[in-house]
Symmetry: C2
Subunit: 186 residues, 2 copies
Amino acid sequence: MVRWRPNAQSRLAQAALDLYEEQGFENTTVAEIAARAGLTERTFFRHFADKREVLFAGGEFQESIIAGVTGAPESASPIEAATAGLDAAGALLEDRHEFAIRRQRVIAASPDLREREVMKLAAVATALAGALRTRGVAEPAATLTGEVAMSVFRNAFERWVDQASAGDLRELIRESLNELRTLAGS
Amino acid sequence: MVRWRPNAQSRLAQAALDLYEEQGFENTTVAEIAARAGLTERTFFRHFADKREVLFAGGEFQESIIAGVTGAPESASPIEAATAGLDAAGALLEDRHEFAIRRQRVIAASPDLREREVMKLAAVATALAGALRTRGVAEPAATLTGEVAMSVFRNAFERWVDQASAGDLRELIRESLNELRTLAGS
DNA sequence: CGAGCAATGTCAGTTACTGACATGACAGTA
DNA sequence: TACTGTCATGTCAGTAACTGACATTGCTCG
């Protein structure tokens, strides 16, 4: 006999996603989530800072981007290095397409969740800029590149989850990047 | 004799900014803000959707950007039209430099407020994209241009409030835009 | 066997936010 | 002048997010 059922955190995350999907984010109480996971409300808040964070926990996404940037060849330009980061993140998400679609539908349905998502992506942009600075990129080029890169990612990701049959995320990223090049030149 | 003291909304906004500055956003209750404005908590929530929104009310900023985009000559490229919008917003803020600095310091000190600010800017980017689409710009160029333009603005604005003695906001915007051109070409 | 620890539970409290209803001038109208 | 509606505000009660303090439970290690 184990002391407690294992994976409390992921049970909570699973219950939360299910409930947000079934009845909406605002109509779901933390007590309900905890109950479905067989835990108490207090325990929920030990695992997640707030009711929104349960959909955004785990920093693997940001980590993969940073790793991609850091691992890019020294000769790469700022944009090329950032693109290497996006590509790494694309690889990470590739096999979670269905999950990404479900999660994104839930987020899109709630202003509170959208707000948190925007914030998270902004934080990634900041971290990306930091990684570029480590590579010797000066300001404001680093910050600007970080934000523009995240715009490219957001654009590609949106198309990826919109069409259920979507193609490769990493290819969509390359397409968005080409769009950007066209625009900025004019 | 007037029925009630006038400008309830701006009194609340003023009291809120003062209190957030004095004791921090998290340590300030809505009841305190209302009391300082000579009103009740309930009335606060009739004027502002939530405790954060009091620093973000009034859509003049977004409106000026959209007006600038809409008023750009037909021959202008997407980026040029977006830049016209940023320029209009720059003109709007020009004479509120000190206020912008105070407000930005308060926002920077609170994660909740930063989150709301990021969301607001994202909403402006979306509206900007919409204005571009009205001009005939197709997707994903419109969305991408909207977001990139807001990155440029954010970058310029940040430098504008950082240095108290800063130069012209509109000139900083032009500089940021040139930075972007350099980056995107590489 | 006992001490300590780590994850959870219990409980009480604060505060953001909401709905329902009351109130107090003022505006127009008979 | 009295009557009535309206609009901004006040009052009050309630829900639910979040927090701090303390108790509990089994496991682990000596």
